[in-house]
Structures are given as structure tokens and as C-alpha cells.
Amino acid sequence: MEPVVTAIRQVPLEHYVALSFILFSIGLTGALFRRNTIIILMCLELMFNSVNLLLTAFSAHHSDPGGQVFVFFTMLVAAAEVTVGLAILVMMKRNVDSVDINQLNRLKG
Amino acid sequence: MVLLALLLIPFLTALALMLARPTNTARHIALGSTIASLGLVALIWWSYVPGQTWVPVKFDWAPTLGLTFSLGYDGVSLLMLLLTALVFPFIIAAGYRQNLQHPSMVNALLLFTQSFLFGVFTAQNAFLFYIFYELSLVPVFFLLLYWGGERRRAITVRFFIYTLLGGLMLLFGLAYCVTQTAPISADFAVLHALRIPADTQVWLFWALFLAFAIKLPIFPFHSWQPDTYTMAPLQGTMVLGGVMLKMGLYGVLKFVFPIVPFGVEHWRDTVIWLSIIGALYAGIIAFRQQDLKRLVAYSSLSHVGLLCAGLFAWNVYGTGGALYQSFAHAVLVVSMLYIVGALKERTGTSELGAMGGLKGKAPRLAALFFLVMINAVALPLTQSFVGEWLMFNGLWQVDGWMAFAAVATIILGAVYMLYAYQRAMLGPDRWKMEMPDAGRNDHLYLVPLIAITLVLGLYPAPILDLVNGPVQQMLSTLTALN
């Protein structure tokens, strides 16, 4: 572990923040404006991972393992989320023969 | 451990009934369970040291919320446990003559209710209390929804939402109180030691009190009650009127009085007058009711108004009397509703217009009805008299006019009860129905209840001693605060 942490520390924190911000923005934009559900799911994943990256970076820089522990939680939840999401996606493909998010417009009150 | 057992006996029996669904033996099993609970409570009562708060069960559940699972009891809790345990065997037994569908489910729901009620009355943590308080509503909800009478869906939903609304306010008030503690704790002991600024208490009072005001209910929060009581299956009404409304009373004692004493002082006259107005209002309405069950609902409303007024008199006579009366009222409601059920079983209706002159054919039933009725009109040497007498004295200490208005209910009570009795039982036999007189089962059911009424009316000391200590202690703490 120690070498990895040292390695991470060699890059200044600002760079991680900038990278995470870029990744998160890409993910967000994609999730908001793309219509393909698969892409949206991938974008969500991207946002998760940008946050994970940031958490890891902070954790290493502050010598606090809590952040890394939290990343595991996030990954776990993300995995669960993706499972459900893909299951929905399969059902969607089967039912409406499309993966366009706008096809799911029957969910209104 | 005894307290855990108390919660678990009905809970596990209910689970078993729900899973196994025995049709024929369900009532026997449920009755056995409630009798076991009664035995257990009797044991607790026997070993109780007066004036003590005893918390034998306590472990952390969610410390960040201040939620601990702690059970215990003092004299007031014990009184409530006693009345719950005492009344439930009768509630279950009332089911023998009802022939509802799916008896195992009905009894399971009733036992769940009992378990949660035990939880409410033993919880020593405010959140735990809240959890049990709202949980107890769930089985009753299903009971009303599936076994109720006409318009059951609309009425049940209305009842549910209305009481839930009160519960929400309680949760809010509770959350506010808990945030004021450091370290965070919702134990009653901690909350009672809380000193909340007087002007905060003025509004916090209603946040805490509204739930109980609706549950009791007092005027003008009562409008769910008559419909619900009338529509509910007999056993459901017994649970609602006999035991569940005592949660409101108990809640006031546990939450409102000790936590917001200045708020109580500020609103006391308002609450007492509202309660008394409600008592008179319901008493007047009851006079012209055509449906006996609805009449009982309004009479209960009237009694509860008086009860709440006595409670808020805030002296040993008023509060002690209200507690005593809550016990008397539980017995009264169950016996009165049983009479309603017995009449309905025989005549096929609870409309008073369709009865009349039944005494000729069922003299023993009429006699039993009469004995129950004298408790309802609070004649001396019945249990209700002791309670009402104490409450009148307590109210007089507050204000003579309050006492005057409260005592006026005894006239109204006599007017509507005697009129109802006359319409049902006396007069010429107009309908020429064939009907059996009260049989062995009816006597087995009503005679113990009437005996309790008369014995505790003649010798109320066992119950009075139970409440005397805690009430005096609470009042002296409050006096010290002012």
C-alpha cells in the first residue's frame, strides 16, 4: 500500500480535483442529454467513478483510510445499481423494442 | 425479562395464528394467550413496589437518534398494563359470538394490537413509544378495513389519515425535543429533565398534544370517532374505545405534562373548556341517536371529554380521578358494547326503533344491561362514580364554573342512557320477536365485568394506591418547576 499512496501523493491534489470535475461534468452532461439508456447508465457510472477517484485522492493526501473505505461502499452500491438498471434495460428492450429513454414516458402521475 | 415476555406472548401467538391459520381453534388459542398475559401482568402487579419506576430491559438500538430499546413501568404504566391485560380476554371472547370470516386473522390482528399496546405502556424511550404508538394503528387499520360495516373503506382511511396526521405532529415535536438534549437521547428520563424555554413550550405543546387530542378524541378533533366506532366490527370498537384511547391519556402524562409544563399552564383552561364543551356536546347529541352503537360512541365521547378535563385539572384529584376513570371506562366500554352485540345478535339490528319491550322476553339480559348502565351514569358504588367524583373535586379546585359544567354531564348522561334503555328494553312488546334470554355465556362474560365495577366502586383502594404515588410525584416535580 505504502508505494501506491506515495505515488498518488506525487501528483498535486488540484490535478485530481480538476480531473474529477472534468469526468463528472462529462458524465452529467451525458446523463442529461443523451437519449440512449445504455449511455446514460455508463455516464452514471462515470460520475460515480469520478467521485471515487476524488475520495481516494483525498484519502491518500490526508492519510485517512476512511475515504477509501467509503469508495468500497460506493462501488458496492454502484454495482447493485447497475444490476437493477441493466435488468430494467433488458425489460425495456423486450417490451418496447427500444433503448431510447424517452420511450419510458408512461411513468407519470 | 418479564416485560419482554409480555410483549412476545401476544406477538408470537399472533404470528403463529397468522401462519398456521387454524380456523376452529384460533379463538381458544388467542384467549389462552390473553389470559397468560393477564397472569403475567398480575404477577408484575403483585411484585410491584409502590412509588417506583422500574426499568429492567434496556439496550441501545440506534444511539445516533437517541433510540434505545428500554422497557419499564411505574404505577401509571402498571395501571394501563392492567387494564389492557384485563380487557383483552373479554375482547377476544366477544368474538365467539360474532362469526366473522377468517377468525385466525382477526385474532392475530387483535393480538398484534395487544402486543404493541403493551409496548406503548412500557416504553421508557420516547421514540420507542412513538414506534409502538403508530404500530398499534396498523392491525386496527386492517381490522376495520376488512371486517368493518358500511362505508368501511372511506371511514377507515379517514380515521387512519387523521390519526396519522396527529402522529406526524408528535414526531415533529419529539424530534425537536430530542435535538435539545446533549448527548442525544430520547429516554423519558432525559426528556423529563429537559428545560425548554417557556415561549417555545407554548407552541410545542400543540405539537405534542395534537396526536393525543385526536386519539382520545377531544372536541373539536373528534369527528372521526362516531363513524368509526359505529362502522367498526364489535371487537374493533372495543379495542378503540376500551384501550387505544387510553394511549392518548397516557401520552399526555408521559409527554405533555413533564416536557412542556409551561405550555400546559398556558393552555390548560383552553383544553379543559374544550373537553367539557365536547362532553356536553356529545352528551346532548347522544340523546336523539337512533342507533345504539352510535349512541355508545357519543356517550364514550362524552365520558372522554370529562376524562381529559379531569386530567388537565392538574391536581391529584383531577389527574388521579382521570386515571381511575380510564380504568373504569375500559370496563364500561367493553361491557356496554357486549350488550349492543348481544342485542344485535338477537334482534338483527342495533336500531333502537326496532327494539322495545325486550325485557318481557329477556329479563336477565335487561337486568345485566341495567347493571352496566348504572356504571355508565356513574351511580355511587360503581367504579365510574369514584373517578367522576374525584374529577369533579379536582375541577372545582381549578374553577367552580368548570366543575359546574362538568357535573352537568351527569344529568345529560342520565337523560340519554335511561332513554336508550327505555327504548330498547321497556314498554309494550311491539315486535313479537322470538329471542332467547341471556344465557350461560352472557353471564360468564358480563358478571365478572359487573363484579369488577361494583367491587372497585366499593373498594377503589387497589387502583387508587397505584396512581396516587406517581401522580403526587409528578405534581410535586411540576410545582418545583414553577
Binding site: K108 | R158, H222, L379, I410, A414, Y459, V467
Partner: protein, 627 residues
Amino acid sequence: MNTTILAALVPGLPLLGAIVIAALRRSLKGNSAGLLGTLAIGSAFALSVMLFLGHDPAAGPYTAHLFNWIDIGGMHIPFAFQVDALSLTMMLIVTGVGTLIHLYSIGYMHDDARVSTFFALLNLFTFAMLLLVMGANYAITFIGWEGVGLCSYLLIGFWYTNPAYNYAARKAFVMNRIGDLGFVLGLAWLFNVTGSLTFTEVFDRVAGLGPDVLTGITLLLFVGAIGKSAQLPLFTWLPDAMAGPTPVSALIHAATMVTAGIYLIVRSSVLFELAPFTQDVVLYTGLVTALVAATIGVFQNDIKKVLAYSTVSQLGYMFVALGLGAYSAGMFHVTTHAFFKALLFLGAGSVIHALGGEQDIRRMGGLKGAIKVTHLTFLLGTLAIAGIPPFSGFFSKDAILANAFDRSPVLYALLLGGALITTFYMFRLYFLTFWGAYRGDKHPHESPAVMTVPLLVLAVLSVVGGLLNLPHVFGGHEPMKHFLAHAADGIGAERLHLEASTEWMLMGLSTALVVLVIALAHGRFAKKATLDPEADELPFLPRLLARKWYLDELYERLFEKPYGWLSTMFHRVGEGWVMVPLMNGAGRLTQRAGQVLRLAQTGNMSFYLFAMVAGIVVFLLMTLYGR
């Protein structure tokens, strides 16, 4: 035997009798229920006599403490009996007259199917009445007070298939409850200021109370007395209460229960002595009631109704005595009235029995030959109530009149007028019933010995009862007054400042006038053969009186109808238009809010996501720059 046990047995035996008879009511055949009931009361009477003989009035009250009834906070109410001169007097009346009436009932109720229930209730009544008079504190008295009301309700409505009787029973109970309202409030107030309800303690502590408080308390207690003792404005239940069997009317509605109000005031004489205003209220209420009821009595045609109004009127006299502070005269009249009014009611019952249920005096007449014992005893009772010397009524009524004269001659004149009206209607009743020609169609027959023996005993008591309190002018020394003075402090304070010559003159005057009125009644009614017309055909004033001053109609218009209307209105308007819609409104508001908010749910996923992000951004900005 221990006095405590003895005292507890006095009410205990009737209670036991009631329970045993009620429990065995199906297996008791024939007269056994009646005999059991009579035995229970008779033994209670014997015990009362034992207590009386063993009681030393100078030693003060004996308290028989049984157990603590209500004990919470500062309220200690023991279940205790007090044996003193006053309670002993009442006990002897209740059990003594009660025994005779029980005995009589064996004959009277012989044919009734529910005779066992009847005796159980009669015993229960006696129990409650004994609690009332023996209680050592106001709370025990109140138990009895309500208990006698309950038994009265049950016995008035004893023949429950008749709706009119049920109505009468309910009316009696509710009117009594209105009185109880005052009683309960008075007790609450009394407890609040003295911290006790035990007689001896209360009377020790009242001296320090302000006059306003005492006036308030005594007025409230008097409201209770008004209800129970049938005074204006709550007397209308008593005539209706005649719906019950005649022995019930004799025991409850003439001899015992209705005198409970007088007992209460004599018991509380210490309080009333300190509240002169209340005393005046008592005096004038009694006076007005005595006159109003007497005037109504003149035009009644039901034998029992006449007696009922006479009872109300006589109770009015007793209240006048109490208002004058002449407690011993009031109690003396209670005693003699118990004798002669019980006698008259039982005699009326015997007449009704003889005629197979007929109660209308217009269908009687000429019965003096047919039912000799009843006639003789009834005549003695009538002479007693009219106040002919040396019958008991003369002495007791004269004591009240003398006290009234001492206060003011006008008062005396009014009361004397009332007494003359009493004489008139009682002799009207007597002549119409027993003289002239028989106007009915049933064959009269004399009652059995079980009924006539009580009549004879009561007749003897009515004749010689005056000896109990023989005044000084006749060479007596008022033994009853001196006996009672030990129990009720108010009696010790009584003063009567009349010269012997004045007393002789007053007595002579009243006796002469009474004889005159009897002659008048004889002239008008003794040979009457035609029937009186129905009330509606009378001219205005007699119609007003025959219709009881239209009080019943007034109350119906003023209270009963509006109350029913109020009940309906509260239900229809209060519940239907205000309360339930208010609650439903809350539900509907929620629904409306939902309808508005659901517009935001477009179903477009991208929109949801966008909204979510926008929300997050807003929160983010708020946390960063919000404060």
C-alpha cells in the same frame, strides 16, 4: 354486641335481603319473598331499637368506621356510619314504617308475577335510605342519596310495559339528578374550603369561612334537597311518581325518601345557621310550594294524586320550619308525617285493592260500610293531617305555625290558609271516597289482615305520635327536641318567644277554623252523587289548578322539546355541516394539492434527471453562499 357491627348490620341486613331475594327470585314461591324481605327490615328495625336503647345522647355521636373508601392525596373518605340522635330518629322511622309497609306489600302485591323483584328492590331501597341517614360523611350520604333515587326509578317504572310509567320514572330520576348537580357541587366546594367531608370535622371548621362561601355552599345543598324533596321548581316528578305500586308511594314518596332533603338540611344545620340568606330562600321556597301544591290538590280526582300533592305541600311546611330555624319542629313533622301519610297511602292502596285497581274518586263513594277497617284508619289519618287535636299532626303542624307566628303574623296567616286548604281537600277526598252513594261498578271487598294490621298500627301511631314532642303548654317537655339537640347544633340554638296564652289562642283559632272547613267539605261533598266534570270543562281558575298551573306543559315547552331539538340540531348541523366537513376538508385539501403537484410528473426521464441536478446545484449553492 359491638356497636360498630350492630350499626353495620342495620343497612347490611336489607342489602343481604335484597341480594338473597334477587338471587333466589325464581325459586321463591308465594309469599316467601315478601316474608324474607319483611324479616330483613324487621330485624334491621330491632337492631335500630337496640342501638337507640344503647345510645347515650349526651356522649355525642358514635362513629362506626368500616374501611377507607376513597383515599387519595388529601382526600380521606372513610366508609363510616354515624350513630347519633338524628340518624337514630331517621333509622327508626325508615325501618319501623318500612317494616309495616313491607308487611302490607305482601298482601298488596300478592298477585303480581314479579313480586320477588319487587321485594328485592324494596329492600335495596331501604338499604340505600339507611346509608343516606347513617353516613358519617357527606359522601356516604350521597351514596344513599343516589341509591334511593335509583330504587325510586326502578319502582316507579315497576310495571315496565306501560310507557307512561316509564316516562314518569325517567322524569323522577332526571329531576333528582338536577338536584344532585347542586349537591355534588356543594360537596366539591365544601371539600375545597374545609378539606374534609366528615360531618364532625366539617362542622368544626366552618366557623372560619366567609359568609359568601357559606351561602353558596348551602344554596347548592338546598338545590339537592329541592330535587329529592320535590319542592318548586322541581316537584312535578312526585305526582307522576304515583305510577308505582301504592306501597312504594307510601314508603318512598311519602314517608322516607322525600324527607331526605329535610334530613340533609337538619344535618347541615350548622352551615345553614351561618347563612341567613339561604335560610330565607328555604323558607320562601317551602312556603310557595306548600301553597301551590295545596291549591292543586283541591282539584285532583285521582286518590293517589291528591295524596301526592298533599305530600309536596307538607314537605313545603317542613322546609318552612327549617327556614325558620325550627329544626326540631321540622323533624317532628317529618316523623308524624311519616306515620299519617304512610297510613293514608296504605289506606288508599287498600281502597284501590278493594275496588280492583280503581283510582278515580269520582267512581268511589259510600265505601265506609263496605271496608270498615280501611275507613276507620283512613279517617284517623285524615284527622291527623288536618290537625285536629289530639292527633299527631296537630302538634307538629302547630309547632311550625307557632314558629311562623313568632317570625311574622303574615307568614302565619299564609301557612294557616294552606293548612285549611289541606283540610278541605283531604276531607273532600274522604267524603267522596267513603260517604254518599257508591258510583262505581266493581264490588268492594275488605283487604286481608296482612294489610289491615299495618294500617291499624300506623293509625295508632298517627293518633299518639304527638306525644313524642309534647309541647310545654300541654305539660310536656318536648322530649324529641331535647333528644335531637344533641345531634344537630342548630336545634340547641332554637328560641321560641311566645307566651303560653298566645299559643293557646293560636291553637284555638286554627282548630276552630279547621272544624269549620270540615263542616264546609261535609256540606259540599258528603252526599254528592254526580261526577265532577273533566278538567277541560272547568272554568278558568279551577282548570288552571286541575292542570297543575300548567307546569308540566311549561317544562315540556321550555326544556324537553328544546332539548330534543338541540340534540337533533347538534347532530345534523354541528356534526353534519361543521365537524365532519371540516375533517373531510382537510382530506380534500390534500387531494387538491396532489392534483396540482402531479403536473410536475411529466413522465419524461430526462426532465426528472435535469430537475434532480438542478436541485442539487441549488442546494450546493445554498450551502456555499447561503449563510
